[in-house]
């Protein structure tokens, strides 16, 4: 799944010719032992390429596109959909928006324009990824058959795919495959998994805030409700697991 070491070496030569590995590691913050290990195994992680390209002021998405697995990243210019953008807003930020819109002293929701983001009561949205960003992103672009299509395209078993989503993880290759299968901008999944930032993926500045502002009060409330419900389920499951462990301590320790 990760990038072949040979291709990586070739890319690295182009990016930083005549630079020692030690220097590259120092500049990019990649641990030397980590990189050495990845080179020995012949598989270099995408995060390594991202860190190094950032250190050399390259766009990480463009850098990834130089590798065969990700070559179509370069040609992809689809902008993110509103649903995708909103999926990358943290639940707390959504709730804050609900409060701001319904607060008696705030604007009553009629004048929702871009200027509102300058409002001191509406602090900047926290950058992606958030605690459930991967699952929310897939849900946002899922037409009901998406998981099935990704599974057929990549050969990854549906339950393994779901397990990654639940853990808020998704291998970069799978993230791109998911975008491809959904017919959306290819870098969206990389944002949702936190591999690259929204700016690096070419999302316009303030796009998430704008998408949020375009949400009607009803949609915002419904969406926040969904998020809260999912959060409640997760928390309850954690509490149950904790209880189960606690019961073992109580009876057997």
């Amino acid at each position: 799944m990760p990038l072949p070491a040979k291709a990586f070496q070739r890319w690295l030569n182009g990016v930083a010719p005549d630079t020692s590995t030690a220097d590259i590691c120092r500049v990019s913050g990649v641990k030397r032992t980590t990189l050495a290990q990845q080179l020995v195994r012949g598989k270099v992680a995408e995060t390594t390429v991202v860190s190094i390209s950032r250190a050399y002021n390259l766009n990480p998405v463009a850098a990834l596109a130089t590798f065969d697995t990700y070559s179509d990243l370069a040609s992809s210019s689809l902008p993110p959909s509103d649903k995708e953008l909103v999926s990358q807003i943290a639940t707390v930020d959504l709730l804050r928006a609900v409060i701001v819109r319904t607060a008696p002293t705030g604007s009553t929701g009629t004048g929702s324009t871009g200027t509102e983001s300058m409002d001191p009561r509406q602090p900047e949205l926290s950058p992606p990824p958030h605690a459930t960003s991967v699952k929310n992103w897939v849900d946002a672009i899922d037409d009901g058959e998406l998981r099935h299509r990704v599974s057929t395209a990549t050969g990854v078993a549906p339950q393994n795919y779901s397990a990654q989503l639940t853990a808020n993880r998704l291998a970069p290759e799978l993230a791109v495959a998911t975008s491809r299968a959904a017919g959306v901008g290819l870098a969206g999944g990389l944002v949702a998994t936190g591999l690259v930032t929204e700016a690096e993926a070419g999302w316009p500045r303030g796009a998430r805030q704008a998408a949020l502002d375009r949400l009607s009060d009803g949609d915002l409330a419904a969406l926040s409700g969904e998020r809260l419900q999912a959060l409640g389920k997760t928390l309850r499951r954690q509490e149950q697991d904790q209880e189960q462990t606690e019961r073992i301590w109580e009876n057997l320790v």
Partner: protein
């Protein structure tokens, strides 16, 4: 080889018992201490030397063997109840402590005692080997007696097995799941001992291996839970912190 396994099991079980003394003093889950103490005693009684020494005091009529069986019943009863309670297996508790469980215990005990009384049991012999060799009738009775003695532990183990298998696949911490797996292996091994009469005499050592691995699995499984609890820190035990 078998001797080593026997003594290892005895030492492991004895060490586990000793490690429960602080909790015994603190009155915390005392039944685990009693169960382990009984288990240690049972292992001691199942080893030739100690068995002969103890049985000699009890009149050399193999009463120690009958005692051993009831000690095992007691140990397994208390231990299984604790384990089922710990893993939240209410059905397992019901099966052990409920009417079915009590009926099984009573019936099996009755069969065991009747067999024992009908036997000519004079002459100490670990595992009643010499008793069985006396005559045809004795051999048959020893067989039934032994089967009855294994039946109750087997019943209890089967009662808690589903709970253990569930725990292995649950989202519990890895150490606890490992412990559940060990307990499950033990719970499978003990019912297997019901098949002992079918084991050809040449493979007699299998009996020992199954018996003692079952006990080792139980003891190590429990010990793992204590390790896991130690690892998890003491936040779930506010008592010592307050004392400090």
């Amino acid at each position: 080889m078998i001797e080593i396994l026997q003594w290892t099991t005895l030492i492991a079980s004895g060490a586990a018992t000793l490690s429960r003394i602080p909790n015994l003093v603190r009155r915390k889950n005392r039944s685990i201490f009693y169960a382990l103490a009984l288990l240690t005693l049972a292992i001691l009684l199942s080893i030739d030397g100690p068995y002969l020494a103890i049985d000699a005091r009890l009149g050399s009529a193999n009463v120690a063997n009958l005692l051993l069986r009831f000690i095992i019943f007691g140990a397994i009863f208390f231990l299984a109840l604790r384990i089922a309670a710990g893993f939240g297996d209410s059905r397992g508790i019901q099966l052990i402590r409920g009417r079915t469980g009590m009926l099984a215990l009573g019936l099996i005990s009755a069969v065991m005692v009747v067999c024992f009384v009908l036997m000519d049991t004079s002459g100490s012999s670990a595992g009643l080997v010499d008793v069985a060799a006396k005559n045809q009738q004795n051999a048959l009775l020893v067989e039934y007696y032994g089967a009855a003695g294994r039946a109750y532990p087997a019943y209890v183990c089967l009662a808690i097995l589903p709970g253990m298998l569930r725990a292995i696949r649950s989202p519990l911490p890895a150490l606890l799941r490992m412990s559940a797996a060990l307990l499950a292996v033990g719970s499978i091994a003990i019912p297997l001992s019901l098949l002992f009469p079918l084991v050809p005499p040449g493979l007699g050592f299998l009996r020992f291996i199954i018996n003692y691995t079952a006990i080792l699995c139980f003891v190590v499984g429990l010990a793992l839970i204590w390790v896991a609890s130690g690892r998890a820190g003491r936040k779930h035990r506010p008592l010592p912190a307050e004392r400090r």
